[in-house]
């Protein structure tokens, strides 16, 4: 079973996402929540980080945090999956452990 990596910091403000992407292995899953959701948007200076990760990892974004910030689903990077709180729990359950990049 693979790990679930969580990122809750903006990619424009902190390097949490960079380090997560550098140290997470192929086949693992990444969940973006709180200010981490900004990384899931297409057309930004950080978009390439996620499109690159999607080549060998799964990327999820927590919908309540995404909506709270006024972000639109049609601007989500293709391949990123939206999950709700129950989906978050399912991811945790399906992975061997959770590695938080705070």
């Amino acid at each position: 079973m693979s790990d679930l990596h969580t990122v809750n910091k903006s990619p424009f403000e902190k390097n949490s996402l960079d380090t997560c992407l550098r140290l997470s292995k192929a086949g693992s899953s990444i969940l973006l929540y709180e200010d981490g959701v900004y990384a899931a948007l297409a057309g930004t200076s950080a978009s390439e980080k996620i499109t690159g990760a999607l080549a060998d990892r799964k990327v999820y974004v927590l919908e309540p945090d995404f909506r709270a910030r006024g972000l639109k689903a049609d601007r989500l990077i293709e391949g990123v999956e939206m999950v709700d709180y129950a989906g978050f729990v399912d991811l945790v359950d399906a992975c061997s452990k959770v590695q938080a990049w705070v």
Binding site: F12, D35, L41, T44, S45, D65, R67, A68, R69, G70
Partner: protein, 135 residues
Amino acid sequence: MSDKKQFMFLNRRAPYGTIYAWESLEVVLIAAAFEQAVSLAFIDDGVYQLVTGQDTTGIGMKNFSPTYKTLGDYEVRHMYVDKDSLEARGLSVDDLVVVPWEDWETEETVDNIVEVVDSAKLAELLEESDVVFSF
């Protein structure tokens, strides 16, 4: 010398992930109540504070974004948005809140006090300010 000072509120954080955005808004309203000349600048992730369509029902936090629309009524005359920060995030002025302003005495009106400015202009505005509050 006038007692009225030029206050600049520098907002550099996204809403909800931290308390900075909300705290700034609280202090802006207090400063405006004391009849100071209040301007706001939105830089870096601070530009996200002005994005329309925020819906916090799923995260159990107060959606304070409607307050920005009313700042003109509190005599806030300028809301500057950093062009580079906006572009780096794939945003344009169309994604941001519109804030009207009206002078009650002269009836002068401004349709939208939200203004996108470049770095040179921002640097000038910051230097011209008497006090800069950083959030």
